[in-house]
């Protein structure tokens, strides 16, 4: 893989159509060994890129879903306390009281549970997806920063575990809050937009071969216009794909107001949005 263009072709083979910017960002992330921070509205294909990259690199995808309260024992590693206790019980029953030996055994690698970050460091090659990092606490970013700086995790009882080959890291953020600058500095930053009309048509055709060119164009035109309407949740690519699939399942060959209204639930996920779209006759002028 010697150029962003070549990477775009390989991603295309995985049915992921990356624009020039995203392909260049991913190419640089691979070449420079830096994490790629993707920001943008929900549904523009941030998470999907990690999947496609994993497929291209033939590497497992390891995913860390962030949430408020996520801490080190859920992200890095944890000790298997139940098995440690059992081990101690067995030793006790067997009359073993050499505490140095016990300690070494109990804190052995076999009692360590690898959580996503440790797993990503121990797996070669690997693609690590740190999804929705904006949902984690600010404190968690310090842990991430440490891991992403050295690709090493130190377990006090066991020593430092270092990646022989750092994983490819993709971080996503929906920007519900600002990601800390120190973390951003470690990363290449890319702001991802909704796809252009042409790319959305291409994506629909690529992912749903049963979809005709004209239906894809009608769908892309409608979703493009919906994104400019003031909706609570404008549709992302995933919703557009769901919607098209629903249309195809109903045997629709073109987008008419009735079939659009019947399948709207696949596209818009808020009652208020349904009312706004159906109320102002959005689909009335579809055929025009």
């Amino acid at each position: 893989m010697d150029s962003p263009g070549r990477l775009a072709e390989l991603l295309d083979e995985q049915a992921y159509l990356a624009g020039e910017g995203l392909a260049t960002a991913a190419f640089l992330a691979l070449r420079m060994g830096r994490p790629l921070l993707l920001e943008g509205e929900a549904g523009v294909g941030k998470t999907e890129l990690a999947r496609a990259l994993a497929a291209v690199l033939e590497a497992p995808l390891i995913r860390l879903q962030c949430y408020e309260g996520l801490d080190a024992s859920q992200a890095l590693y944890d000790w298997d306390f139940a098995r440690q206790l059992l081990h101690l019980k067995a030793a006790e029953a067997g009359g073993i009281t050499d505490s140095a030996r016990l300690e070494e055994e109990v804190y052995g690698r076999r009692f360590l549970i690898a959580r996503p970050l440790l797993r990503a460091i121990e797996t070669q090659p690997a693609v690590l997806l740190i999804d929705e990092v904006d949902r984690a606490d600010v404190e968690f970013e310090a842990i991430l920063l440490e891991v992403l700086s050295d690709f090493a995790i130190s377990v006090p009882e066991l020593g430092t575990i270092r990646a022989e080959r750092p994983p490819v890291v993709v971080l996503t953020s929906n920007r519900t809050r600002e990601v800390h600058d120190a973390l951003k500095r470690r990363c290449l930053y890319h702001w991802l937009e909704h796809p252009s009309f042409e790319r959305e048509v291409a994506i629909l055709r690529r992912r749903l071969p049963a979809c005709s060119e004209s239906l894809a164009e009608q769908v892309a035109k409608a979703t493009g216009r919906l994104r400019e309407t003031d909706l609570i949740k404008p549709p992302g690519i995933a919703e557009t794909l769901d919607w098209t699939e629903a249309l195809l399942t109903l045997g629709a060959r073109e987008l008419d107001p009735d079939v659009a209204a019947a399948t709207l639930g696949a596209l818009l996920k808020h009652r208020e949005d349904h009312e706004a779209v159906l109320g102002n006759g959005f689909f009335g002028d579809l055929r025009g």
Binding site: S3, P4, G19, E20, G21, L22, T24, A25, F27, L28, R31, M32, R34, E39, G40, E68, G69, L70, D71, W79, F81, A82, Q84, L85, L88, K89, A91, E92, I96, T97, S99, L102, E103, V106, R135, V138, R175, T176, R177, E178, D181, K184, R185, L188, Y189, H190, W191, E193, H194, S196, E198, R199, D230, I232, K233, E272
Partner: protein
């Protein structure tokens, strides 16, 4: 908005780069670009510039687009930087087409100056602010009727206001006599006792401060209060920097948390007045709330709306968004400066659709009212 289909913005880069023959020239051209960006307010510091050059070394610097993208990934830190980045890129690499450039849409209205203009005509006799009894008088006076000196004293006291927060259960743990088994501590304890597993350790959840989100209406009708309310925002941010967000709402939503992190109130307020584009405009609170709920996490937060409820937009939208807010937030507090006045009735259309969804409806016109609000945020009941 910028989109990847927007093809004209990197015009000029290949020509400029082709002119830079040696690698040394290229570095000079690129660091010059980074410096220009920095001057334009994009955080393209030394570290980021080094990353930019490193990224370029992996790409074909003369290929159209590569310099553009490499710079965008490494020199920009947020979506807000992108329009500036595009503008500087075009200008720096000489590809600026006549008529294409948009004028910088930055209008700074110095709100404080406008406020000072009509102060002192209120007929109140000036109160010497130094004595304790004077401070007591000031505490209950309406900030809209104060002289400049009185207001300055109130602002000084406001900057000292420390506010507590309601606590919520955190995912983290602390040792405790009750609660769940603490595996780590139990194993440690057993090892200390030579492998004897008789004694179990327990742990319980820690608590953390609940987030507070303050939305300050900066529309025309709120002019006498907005400045003081934003200073309250400063005190809130200073008290709990990690558990506070402040936005201004008028015709658009502006996040002010970063500006308010400055220790010095004057510096913070200067930054705030530069950041708010819509001082003294109209209010479309319904739309603001909708935007707020779409892109921010109100879940579990205490949301404080400071507004007189003079809604110019669609009142039914405000009602619907308030309903959504009350379902999402932990608690909704509405601060209305006029509520402190004698005989006030919440009769504005905006206020009456919002009230059913408000947990606490409080005044916000005086230092005493702010102190009361601070107590509410600390978990007291109204």
């Amino acid at each position: 908005m910028i989109s990847e289909a927007d093809g004209d913005r990197r015009d000029g880069a290949p020509e400029a780069l082709a002119a830079a023959v040696t690698p040394g020239d290229l570095v000079a051209v690129m660091t010059g670009f980074a410096r220009t960006l920095r001057a334009a307010g994009v955080p393209a510091d030394h570290d980021r510039t080094q990353n930019f050059l490193r990224a370029l070394s992996h790409l074909d610097a003369a290929r159209p687009g590569d310099a553009y993208w490499a710079g965008r990934f490494t020199l920009c830190a947020s979506a807000d930087d992108l329009p500036r980045y595009d503008r500087v890129f075009r200008a720096y690499f000489g590809g600026l087409r006549a008529g294409r450039a948009k004028p910088a849409a930055v209008t700074v209205v110095r709100h404080t100056a406008a406020l000072a203009g009509d102060r002192g005509e209120s007929g109140d006799s000036p109160v010497p602010a130094a004595t304790a009894s004077a401070a007591e008088v000031l505490r209950n006076r309406d900030v809209a009727r104060m002289t400049g000196a009185e207001l300055a004293e109130v602002h000084r006291l406001l900057a000292l206001l420390r506010t507590g927060r309601e606590q919520r259960r955190s995912r983290r743990f602390k040792p405790s006599h009750r609660g769940g088994l603490d595996g780590r501590a139990t194993i440690r304890e057993a090892l200390r006792r030579g492998g004897e597993t008789a004694r179990l350790r327990y742990r319980t959840h820690r608590t953390r401060p609940r987030r507070v989100v303050l939305l300050v209406d900066v529309s025309g009708s709120m002019t006498p209060y907005a400045d003081t309310l934003l200073r309250l925002g400063h005190a809130l941010v200073r008290s709990e920097p990690r558990a506070t967000e402040v936005f201004s709402a008028g015709t658009r939503l502006t996040r002010l948390t970063a500006e308010l992190r400055h220790r010095d109130p004057a510096t913070a307020m200067n930054a705030v007045s530069r950041a708010i584009p819509d001082w003294s405009g109209g209010t479309r609170l319904g739309e603001e709330l909708r935007r707020f709920l779409a892109s921010n996490d109100a879940g579990g937060a205490v949301v404080v709306i400071a507004s007189d409820g003079w809604e110019r937009g669609d009142v039914s939208l405000l009602g619907a968004e308030m309903a959504r807010l009350s379902r999402t937030a932990h608690r909704v507090i509405w601060v209305n400066p006029h509520k402190g006045q004698k005989g006030y009735q919440p009769l504005t259309a905006g206020m009456s659709v919002a009230l059913p969804y408000v947990d606490d409806f409080v005044a916000g016109h005086s230092l005493a009212a702010f102190e009361e609000l601070a107590r509410l945020l600390g978990g007291a009941n109204a």
